[in-house]
């Protein structure tokens, strides 16, 4: 029975780990000292959330969290392509943070009523953290979208670039129907609709245009192991210490 739950857990855990690692690349380079600290600590939250999800997988028979996180290659990852794209400039990182975190907030909100109790518990546990992440993302969106001409233009172009990849968050897996039938998760299509209803008004309020198209054009395949050229170099860097000494502890 657990195959379909594993599929859901893998894609969620991989999303959290990869976006956490990506966002941590801003540590030391943030646009303001305070922002550097806030963005880094949210990145750390994401990695922490992935560890909880890998732990659930471990309890369902997968290897321990470190082994699962550090020994797979890109083809074995189920993250969406949005999270693996390079950090770009700050406008791109903020837009991705906005698009991803609102989807994540809705996903965990739905999962807090999941029939799979261990996941429902974890989802409820993350609620507070995620609430801050979306507050942070939306405050920046409104700030830069309604800023000056330059900030508005940069945000719109980042939004246009990230949008098709963001739709890839909702790519369905093989076991979509089982997840819905067994009331583990209400499904990617329902999630996508909730997300569109939530982010579209916020984008407009930020003085930006919601990009056209709600069907995936690019950015699909991540859930079945098809990734951009950017994921493997990220994994190489992330696993550098583990590759030298798997018993290293810090």
């Amino acid at each position: 029975m657990s195959e379909y739950i594993k599929e859901l857990l893998y894609k969620m855990a991989d999303d959290q780990l990869i976006i956490g690692h990506r966002n941590s690349e801003w540590t030391g380079l943030g646009p303001l000292l305070e922002e550097d600290i806030a963005f880094s600590s949210m990145a750390q939250d994401k990695v922490g959330q992935s560890q909880h999800l890998y732990q659930l997988l471990h309890e369902l028979g997968a290897s321990d969290p470190d082994t699962v996180a550090f020994t797979r290659n890109a083809k074995q990852f189920h993250c969406c392509q949005l999270v693996e794209l390079p950090i770009g400039d700050y406008s791109f990182s903020i837009v991705r943070h906005f698009l991803f975190d609102f989807a994540e907030a809705l996903r965990f909100e739905a999962l807090s009523n999941s029939s799979f109790q261990p996941l429902a518990q974890v989802a409820r546990k993350f609620k507070g953290e995620i609430k801050y992440h979306t507050l942070h993302a939306n405050t920046w969106m409104q700030q830069l979208g309604n800023g000056n001409e330059e900030s508005k233009a940069k945000m719109q172009s980042a939004l246009n670039e990230a949008w098709p990849y963001a739709l890839g968050i909702f790519e369905k897996g093989h076991f979509e129907n089982q997840l819905i039938e067994n009331k583990v998760f209400f499904g990617e299509e329902a999630l996508k609709q909730q997300w569109l209803d939530l982010v579209s008004p916020l984008i407009k309020k930020a003085g930006l245009k919601v990009p056209h198209g709600t069907k995936n054009t690019k950015g699909i395949g991540g859930r079945v192991g098809i990734h951009t050229e950017y994921l493997q170099p990220l994994l190489n860097e992330m696993t550098e210490v583990y590759a030298i000494d798997p018993s290293a502890d810090w």
Binding site: E25, T27, G28, L29, L32, L33, E34, E35, I37, A38, S41, I87, Y132, L135, H136, T139, Q143, E237
Partner: protein, 123 residues
Amino acid sequence: MKSLDPRIARAKIELDNPDFSLENQGHFPTYEVFHQKKRGAQHQHVGIVHAPNPEMAMLYAKEQYTRRGKTANLWVVASSEIFATEYFDEDMFENTPDKKHRDPTSYKVMDKIKAFKENQQNQ
């Protein structure tokens, strides 16, 4: 030599870029941060953050000052909104030395309390 710190490569800082001179960097206003541990308790001043507006100041206050320990509530107040005394007037806080009776430590009552307690116990 290539640095082992990946941030060095990512930063792409050109040292002769005029945009990086300190003179060109604007400064955001300062906000004072007040932290409340639990409902009903006093908000206590814990420090400052720099931010362009109260909303952003709140984002940063949360991350700088609430990561450890419990928090019930947070205030941010623009430092410029605080009406304060001048250090020039610090002398107005000085007490006249011969008014010791205003100072609780000038009352020596412990002997009396001790004597009272001993008396109670002996009864």
